[in-house]
Symmetry: C2
């Protein structure tokens, strides 16, 4: 699809369609959850062809990340971190997370997701389904150890906690400590959760 | 104060005063933060004598816990867990936390606190100041190791993350895994954060 030729005069129409698709996607994801939302349904709501949704936004995961204004596609990051193998993946994940937090703070859209999830059961479902499909299942599939699902969930709990404690509550020690030091400490925790005996 | 004699006919007045005090406290804590809120100020707003606030609610920390409808006073719990020493404190804390979560779910008032903190800077300040005064400073004072403030904050990040991932996002593996197993895993993390080399 990326080789399709676009006429220059279509820029305005493109922007309009992108906006319609993102709005329709945000509504469907929030109301139906991640799993039950389809590209086809989003396209219908936006009044465009499903192929245009794929053309603009890629996969359903990528559409979600953009509809929720996430600074990146978590699934792609996890895949990249896991690519060299599980050795050292904890530190790679922690370092990247801290870097992204510093680059996107203070208006981190992740906080909006967490806020919604604490307020609405439907938003919590959406977040759980997206995390499971985009992040946790990828981690589980990459692990060759017992209790893979629990291990992925343990990691998610420390990642979410770091985000909330550092960016929402704003604990000073987590803001002033050198990022490399934090990445080492949290990286060791994630690595233990992923590959060491529990 | 607990030996003061109360006339039976005062029950209605007591209930009214308790309600007024809790409402005034919730408003002051939310607007001014934990540090700047005083028992004297709360009493003035509620139109009662400061001694009555102490009589009904004890310390400022205890008043906060009750004004925010927390299932317990976190400071008192941390003190109890630390009393036998830092050996094994990680597992004691994790086990108690999981027990309280199971007993108070799903309407956990902690979630309301986290939701407010993601929405309002003033609520985030309140939560940070309360956590620091009631929980983190107690932990820091009990530790005879380097980086005590960072260690307390690391623990807070895992505790908050466990609460959010299990109770808000509702990750299945954290809900179905035996509580004793989870207490062991998270207890080891907390213990490492508190007393092992970082």
């Amino acid at each position: 699809m990326s080789t399709a030729r676009r006429r220059p005069g279509r820029r305005g129409a493109d922007a309009g369609n992108r906006g319609k698709i993102l709005a329709a996607a945000a509504k469907r994801f929030t109301e139906l959850g991640f799993r039950a939302t389809t590209i086809r349904g989003v396209a219908a709501d936006a009044g465009v062809d499903p192929a245009l949704v794929h053309y603009f936004f890629g996969t359903k995961e990528q559409l979600f990340a953009q509809a929720m204004a996430l600074p990146l596609d978590p699934g792609a990051v996890v895949e990249e971190m896991l690519a060299p193998g599980v050795d050292g993946v904890g530190r790679r994940l922690a370092a990247r997370l801290l870097q992204v937090l510093d680059e996107t703070a203070p208006a981190n859209p992740v906080l909006a997701l967490i806020r919604s999830a604490t307020a609405h059961e439907s938003a919590a479902t959406m977040l759980r389904e997206f995390l499971t499909a985009a992040v946790l299942n990828r981690i589980t599939a990459a692990l060759d150890v017992d209790r893979a699902e629990l291990r992925a969930a343990l990691c998610a709990s420390q990642v979410v906690g770091l985000i909330v404690a550092r960016e929402v509550v704003g604990l000073p020690a987590l803001r002033t400590t050198d990022r490399a030091v934090l990445a080492g400490i949290y990286g060791d925790t994630l690595q233990r959760y992923l590959t060491e005996p529990l």
